[in-house]
């Protein structure tokens, strides 16, 4: 089959590789119909995630048709059309029982690797380095889906791929970011980053009743989408105005009640701080550029919430712990527990509360995936979300 393989920093290629096979009784094989490049794939693409190996198949946002199931999968049959959550979850460990699906204790065969780095293991994920298990990803024609009786959601007929594809990651991730903000109508929410996750965070915050949502980015087409499609009420272009001052101005000096970091470890900024973090990252003494989260903490009103869904990998410094502690700020964060949100969000799509396809900017064939990475990485041609047809 054809699959997009990571061959090195900014080098991804579509290669011919062996078809996946059932390895465990609860596996299914899915023929991919649509897949897409995630902002977090760019962290792999740009070489910021450790434990990538040449030839690894990328992709953790995908959907398609079940073609084969193991004997332990009772709820799916060949022919079913499914969308698959990016975290791999067993459904029966302590974390899955608590519905913290992205903290599954059983799904990562390389559990010892993240345990060394992060204190405890991470769950398995599709196509996201060997730290998360070394599972082949879904930017391919076929994929093996472990615990297929737990994760995949059957898609009702009548919904197009691009209406449900983003249930695999970015819609639930953005929604969880907003949910962690304890939104009530009077609360002001600020969102750092207007990439696809940021768009869904903004849209979700509005859906959950926030009357004011402030979107922060530097790229005009992203800010425009935040306002016109996702429903942001105010925009801040951080290359034009100082963010902290602008936020104070917009909130009567209090600061936003909740701040969402939808940026993660490749944040941009200007000035000395950016050069400092960029330099450390290039020297490999720091994996992350925590610029957005620093700013979010400083901006947040005292007693407010900082909700982090941007991806981070390692240890950071110049972290405003003093502000966090002294101003009673709560941090909420996590890889998205996608399984929790699949059905409720599918229902919202069916009822017409939201049509997630608004983020789609391009359609391409899987063969063109390397070009899609390049475009998305450089924000060329107003690239927002590029859907690949396998």
């Amino acid at each position: 089959m054809k699959a997009l393989c990571w061959m090195g920093k900014r080098d991804v290629r579509v290669e011919d590789v062996p078809d996946p096979r059932l390895l465990n009784a609860r596996d299914a094989i899915v023929r991919i119909s649509s897949t897409t490049v995630c902002g977090s794939d760019l962290h792999l693409y740009n070489g910021f995630m450790p434990s990538m190996e040449k030839g690894d198949i990328l992709g953790h946002e995908f959907m398609g048709e079940v073609v084969e199931v193991g004997r332990g999968v009772g709820n799916l049959r060949p022919g079913d059309r499914v969308v698959v959550p990016f975290p791999i979850s067993c459904g029966s460990c302590g974390q899955c029982l608590r519905r913290n699906f992205a903290c599954c204790e059983n799904s990562n065969p390389n559990a010892w690797m993240p345990e060394q780095m992060m204190g405890h293991p991470l769950c398995g994920m599709f196509g996201y380095s060997h730290l998360t298990g070394g599972y082949a990803g879904g930017q391919a024609q076929y994929v093996r889906v472990p615990f297929a009786d737990v994760g995949p959601l059957k898609v009702p007929v009548g919904l197009r791929d691009e209406q449900v594809l983003f249930l695999s990651d970015i819609f639930p991730t953005g929604y969880m970011a907003a949910e962690m903000c304890d939104i009530t109508p009077d609360k002001v929410v600020a969102v750092w980053g207007c990439g696809p996750v940021g768009q869904f965070a903004i849209a979700s915050a509005r859906m959950l009743g926030a009357e004011r949502v402030i979107a922060i980015d530097r790229i005009p087409y992203r800010l425009a989408m935040a306002k016109e499609r996702a429903g942001a009420t105010d925009l801040i272009n951080y290359e034009e105005v100082p963010v902290l001052e602008a936020l104070k101005e917009l909130t009567g000096g209090r600061g936003p009640d909740a701040c969402i970091d939808a940026v993660g470890l490749e944040a941009h900024s200007h000035g000395a701080q950016y050069l400092y973090d960029r330099g450390k990252q290039m020297a490999k003494v720091q994996l992350d550029r925590p610029i957005a989260v620093r700013e979010a903490i400083l901006a947040c009103r005292s007693g407010g919430i900082v909700s982090i869904v941007g991806v981070y990998a390692g240890y950071v410094d110049k972290f405003p712990l003093g502000a966090l502690m002294n101003r009673s700020i709560t941090i909420r964060t996590g890889q998205c527990h996608v399984h929790r949100y699949l059905r409720p969000l599918l229902e919202r799509i069916e009822r017409g509360h939201i049509d997630p396809s608004f983020v789609v900017s391009h359609h391409m064939a899987l063969d063109e995936a390397p070009r899609a990475y390049d475009m998305f990485n450089h924000k060329r041609d107003d690239a927002m979300k590029i859907v690949l047809r396998a």
Binding site: L23, N24, R26, P109, N110, A111, W112, P121, G134, R144
Partner: protein, 306 residues
């Protein structure tokens, strides 16, 4: 509750660290003196202070200083202290060599050699204390995991010893041979297999199993697994404590045993909670293209850390 931390430290740990710190500061002081005033020092110990002597003493001083700082950072570690012993040997070699040189003040030199030898003796004592090595007795390996099943189930799974290779990846087979005894076959990373016989020496259903290799075994080891119910009995804390016999090979094996036992416990949890050892593409397909879909099975048998 059991107390954590190595109880052996109670006896000599504090005193050992005190001596080590003393030696650390001594190293720092001597190192600084060697760097700052090599010629004065050369005169004091009665050696020729011309030529390259100054440079040599400065180099020795830099080593001494680094060594001293190493000890002060980790006064309980044996490695920096053994480095001091090695340093003493180097110093003694230089001093012995100076005997043959001209312009040597013999009496002072003898005094210097005696001092270094004295300090070397202290270094050896401190190193041995820091290592706590009563050589050949490796520390026990203790690892734990929580399994969301009642203790009786987890116990029963473990007690069926022939099932152990399902999650203990270094085991090839376990055969029950009657009388509480069993024959174990393990494969080494080198590809060789080793065998031993073990017997269950304590067996309390639902609570614990303790086993020990039979007398005369070439690969002596003993272990204990305890099952502690939590969450009203719906989950179990499984704790394994293993001691590998004596000697150098057991000491080496102990270094890897922690990771091995932890991996085994993870696979046990997978088998009990999900029905099987969980496999990713990378766990059955080694080498380049690790996360590609697997090739034919059989190349490697099980997932997880080798």
């Amino acid at each position: 509750m059991q107390t954590h931390g190595a109880p052996a430290r109670k006896n000599s740990g504090a005193a050992g660290a005190g001596l080590a710190r003393g030696l650390g500061w001594f190293s720092v002081g001597l190192g600084l003196a060697e760097i700052a005033a090599p010629r004065v020092l050369a005169r004091a110990i009665g050696i020729d202070h011309g030529g390259h002597t100054g440079l040599t003493i400065r180099a020795l001083g830099a080593r001494e200083l680094a060594n001293g700082l190493g000890i002060l950072v980790q006064p309980r570690a044996s490695l920096p202290l053994w480095a001091r012993v090695a340093g003493d040997a180097i110093d003694l070699a230089f001093l012995a060599w100076a005997f043959g040189a001209k312009r040597t003040h013999t009496e002072r030199l003898v005094g210097a050699i005696a001092s270094v030898a004295g300090v070397a003796a202290l270094d050896v004592i401190a190193s041995r204390r820091a290592g706590q090595v009563r050589p050949g007795v490796p520390k026990p390996v203790i690892r734990a995991i929580t399994i969301y099943r009642p203790a009786a189930d987890v116990y029963a799974f473990w007690r069926d010893l022939e099932q152990l290779p399902m999650f203990m990846s270094h085991l090839e087979s376990v055969e029950e041979i009657g009388g509480g005894r069993s024959r174990w076959t393990a494969k080494l990373p080198t590809g060789n297999t080793v065998h031993w016989e073990a017997e269950v020496v304590d067996d309390r259903p639902g609570e614990r199993i303790e086993w020990c290799t039979v007398r005369g075994s070439k690969h002596p080891n003993r272990g204990r697994v305890t099952f502690r119910p939590i969450l009203g009995g719906s989950a179990t804390e499984v704790c394994v404590e293993m001691r590998l016999g004596e000697g150098a090979s057991a000491a080496v094996a102990s270094l890897f045993a922690g990771g091995q036992v932890q991996g085994d416990l993870r696979r046990l949890k997978q088998v009990i909670e999900t029905g099987e050892v969980v496999r990713s593409d990378a766990s059955v397909h080694r080498g380049p293209h690790a996360a590609q879909p697997s090739g034919p099975l059989g190349a490697t048998k099980k997932g997880g850390r080798p």
